[in-house]
Amino acid sequence: MGKQSDVVKTESNTSRKIGYALLYLILGIIAVFQVYPLIWLVKFSLKSNREVFSESPFALPTEPRWENYTTAWTQGNIGLYFFNSVWITVVAVVLTVLFASLVTFAITRMNWKFNKLTLGLFMIGLMIPIHSTLIPLFSFFLSINLIDNPIAIILTYTAFNLPLTIMILLGFYYTLPREIEEAAVIDGCSINRIFFQITLPMTMPVISTTAIINMIYNWNEFVFINTFIRSDHYRTLTVGIQSFIGQYATDWGAIGATLVISILPILIAFFFLSNKIVEGIAAGAVKG
């Protein structure tokens, strides 16, 4: 009797192990599907066209051609696009987080008649498809001479990221104890000092989450910059590499190198900040 139950036990153990092995296999295949295209990209970014067209695409480059990267960087204006991406992203993120914090503070901490209505306006903003605003925005910026001006891009990024940012901040503000702020009021502290010296520092954890999310969205944005920016010297990486690739359509190595350069900053950021990024994306899920 005891022996039989042992047999049953080992059998279920083996089937358990097989089951787990199967699950790992499925998860592993998905991981390969998600990552291999990027490894392949790095491989062909180091190849010459002759290698790309005559040898197996799975092979490693026989002699890595780093000059593909110098070609991309010098001829592709990548340095300039990179700089534009950085400063436009940073300015838009700072404005978004500051304005969103001010609104969230006013909505959660101060007493006024229309605060529910204002909050509603911001939340409905989450559902508006950007393409439905594109033509009026274009003609608006055209009429005030902001087409082909980075200010148009920064303002648009800020406006469209405000609803999501406020939504994420709101959850944090509601859980934040008010006692410190109340004590500050009793001590005669002005509201500006309360906001800038007490509340803002206390909300740093959630501010960094929203800043990261905003950064990823702005860094990767395509439609607005493609529509509102005409001249090369204001292009960001996304649109810049698109036009560069258009010119070098047949040079696989240069295209690959350009793409690797454009995604490297995000991958490096992810390597160091993955927990924050994961948390931010989960919190920002509503935007999609």
Binding site: I30, F33, L102, N111, I128, P129, L134
Partner: protein, 292 residues
């Protein structure tokens, strides 16, 4: 306290910058889109009021309905693929070693720009030297299709790239929701003799139903307004076989300079998104939300 916190001037100063931005750059434009739809207009010259002509013409515009159908197909594909993401998340959440690492690996494509993703997939789908067809040649499959030039395959091919882009995102959301389920509930079910599949189907899934509904809205509305990958990879082609509502609108306005007609398309897109959101909310509202 109350007096300090009711300072009208401060409230105005704090709220105004953000409110102005969303009013001027989001709300006024969506109203104007509807209004411009009533015009014949090339974007720079004079507008001519033509009433509902654009909206009526759209109703019998075959290419518009074809584009809408493609957007709808993408929405259906995306919704179905949610089940796959859910299953993967359920596996990941069953104390798999390395789950945290895996979900981060899955997320990487979502962090890349659509330009990078589109350009990479253009190379993957390259008819002779692309990753996919090379793989097919290696295993002896000689008539590999030209994935993006084949009218019957192009939408499906793009959808695979969209899956690549978003899989990690949905898995992340489900995983986070599943990790929120208290361990005690699962333990209790195990003691009662529930199998892992029963636990997944009868306990875990109902508990994250709220999150699942949100992702349905995300997937459908996201698909209806989908644009980037399609625009860069095929531009809606070949012969309109991958045209969607947003790309059709963009072409009408910024390639053909039919700003009035494009606005009408943009307005329909807005309506579709709002109706879809409302409809899904309505269809998926259950009498009682499950609490734990």
């Amino acid at each position: 306290m109350n007096k300090v916190m009711s300072n009208k001037l401060i409230i105005t100063l704090y709220v105004l910058p953000a409110l102005l931005l969303i009013m001027v750059l989001i709300y006024v434009p969506i109203v104007l889109t509807g209004y411009y739809g009533l015009m014949r207009w090339d974007g720079v010259g004079e507008m001519t009021f033509i009433g509902l002509d654009n909206y009526i013409r759209l109703l019998s515009d075959n290419q518009f309905w074809r584009s809408s159908f493609h957007s709808l197909l993408l929405a259906i594909f995306s919704t179905i693929s949610l089940i796959g993401y859910l299953i993967i998340s359920l596996i990941l959440a069953t104390k798999i070693k390395g789950a945290n690492f895996l979900r981060k690996i899955y997320l990487i494509p979502m962090l890349l720009s659509s330009v990078a993703i589109a350009q990479l997939w253009l190379k993957i789908y390259h008819p002779t030297n692309g990753l996919l067809n090379s793989l097919l040649f290696t295993i002896g499959f000689n008539n590999a299709p030209a994935w993006l030039a084949d009218r019957s395959l192009v939408l499906f091919s793009i959808f695979i790239a969209i899956i690549w882009q978003y899989a990690g995102f949905y898995i992340l959301i489900y995983y986070a929701a599943l990790k929120n389920i208290p361990e005690s509930i699962i333990e209790a079910a195990k003691i009662d003799g529930a199998t892992p599949i029963q636990i997944a189907y009868k306990i875990k899934f109902p508990l994250i139903l709220g999150v699942f509904k949100v992702t349905i809205i995300l997937a459908i509305v996201g698909s209806l307004k989908y644009f980037d990958l399609i625009w860069i990879m095929t531009g809606g082609g070949p012969a309109g076989a991958s045209e969607v509502i947003a790309s059709y609108m963009y072409k009408q306005a910024f390639s053909s300079y039919n700003f009035g007609y494009g606005s009408a398309v943009g307005f329909y897109l807005l309506l579709f998104c709002l109706i879809a959101t409302w409809l899904i909310r309505k269809l998926t509202t259950s009498k009682e939300e499950i609490q734990y």
